[in-house]
Amino acid sequence: MKEEILVECSHIEKFYGKKQALKGVDLKLFANKITFLMGENGAGKSTLCKILALLSKESNGKILYKRREIKGNLRDEYKKVLGYLSHQTFIYNHLTALENLNFFANLYGITNKKEKIEQVMSSFGLTEYKNQIAGTFSRGLQQRLSLARTLLNDPTVLLLDEPFAGLDPSALYNLAQILSELKTRERTILVVTHEIDDTVEIADNFIILKQGRKVFEDTFYSKENLKNTYFEFFGGVKQ
């Protein structure tokens, strides 16, 4: 099967004053694949992810969705199929779980709102908590609500910016499970991380950024292989 490129960015540059955070990065997200974007702190991973999420404007370069440049009407079309998850939960503390989901469903203009909300709530085990204030939830429950919120609009493109930061091992395992499940349901996923742990096993491709440049890109073979490549660029103990 020929691999289809869903989102692509070409020669992205980003300046913060004199400092150049991204120095001409090309990146392709293949349809229904999980891509891992790795690199040290300050390598420009999060900046790139924010640019892909249209939260930050690139200084130079283009972002393409389905081979068309994202602007005008395509902007909203792209945002509709976009999911973005970071270590922040993106939920209103003083609204109930249901109100939170309802509000974002409204913003995304989801047509079969009621069923969709019920569906994500039951799949994340939130139904019994639906009328409780989200701020009172435990960390794990908030994480689930956050995921439910992200998947509400059935995003085909998922950008995960350090989603594993600050998670305890069991939550980490759950998230990795969910990600690999999502993959089977035709989603294109970009994971930004700087940790090499068990979660990398689900990757199809991985890309390494160093000081704003793409230094490596390959399909995923094994965790060991990835570790060795990673340490080649950033130093550390070879295994």
């Binding site: 913060y16 004199k18 404007k57």
Partner: protein, 217 residues
């Protein structure tokens, strides 16, 4: 990219120009322009007071234009100019606020009179001082630059409204634009030119010392 070398060249050129025009202006103010009958010597402040006011408007206008450019393009080279414009503008606003009371003391016997144009400048001073405070508080992160540029735009648009408000509020009137004698007019235009050139040289120097300007050799 803004090149430091080129900027320095312009700055030097304008500084030299400013030096000569200012000497000429000073000579004209004291030896060419006739002394005003009612006010006497102190009226000569007018030749710097008004040009400083015009120069400060010019500088904050530059800040306004480059702030818009920065917000649209998100390119920091515009922000450098916007920042410099506001800062140099503030210097000239201060000149107005200092020269005004000196004149006022002679005219009305009081240092500060809540006279419309001067009060307008006091408010403009408050606006642009806040602008500088934001820059000092926030260092150089992108967030601060955005805050500052939005503020510069809003602040500039606010100026005419401030001016109207102050006019209706106060009752003391600014000296009516007395019909100047031709020699006075000529002197005024020479000193206006000299102050504008001076403000531009300040602007170029200020931009060239911004740490974000690229040093090329």
């Amino acid at each position: 990219m803004i090149l430091k070398k080129l900027l320095r060249k312009w700055a030097t050129l304008f500084s030299i120009l400013a030096l000569f025009t200012n000497i000429l202006a000073l000579l004209m103010v004291f030896f060419y322009a006739p002394t005003e009958v009612q006010m006497g010597e102190v009226q000569k402040i007018f030749y710097y007071h008004v040009p400083c006011a015009i120069a400060s408007y010019f500088m904050v206008f530059i800040s306004f234009v480059f702030s818009i450019a920065f917000l649209v393009k998100k390119d920091e080279k515009y922000d450098i100019w916007a920042y410099a414009g506001a800062e140099v503008g503030l210097v000239f606003i201060l000149c107005v606020l200092v020269s005004g009371p000196i004149w006022g003391k002679a005219a009305w016997g009081k240092w500060w009179v809540w006279e419309p144009r001067l009060t307008t400048f006091l408010i403009i001073f408050l606006i642009y001082f806040s602008y500088i405070l934001v820059r000092i508080f926030g260092k150089q992160d992108t967030k601060t630059l955005k805050v500052a540029s939005v503020f510069s735009i809003i602040g500039f648009l606010d100026v005419p409204l401030v001016n109207r408000a102050v006019y209706w509020w106060g009752s003391i009137v600014h000296p009516k634009s007395v019909s100047l004698e031709p020699q006075m007019k000529l002197t005024f235009f020479v000193s206006l030119l000299s102050v504008i050139i001076l403000s531009l040289s300040f602007l170029f120097w200020r931009v060239s010392v911004d740490e974000r300007v690229i040093d090329n050799d």
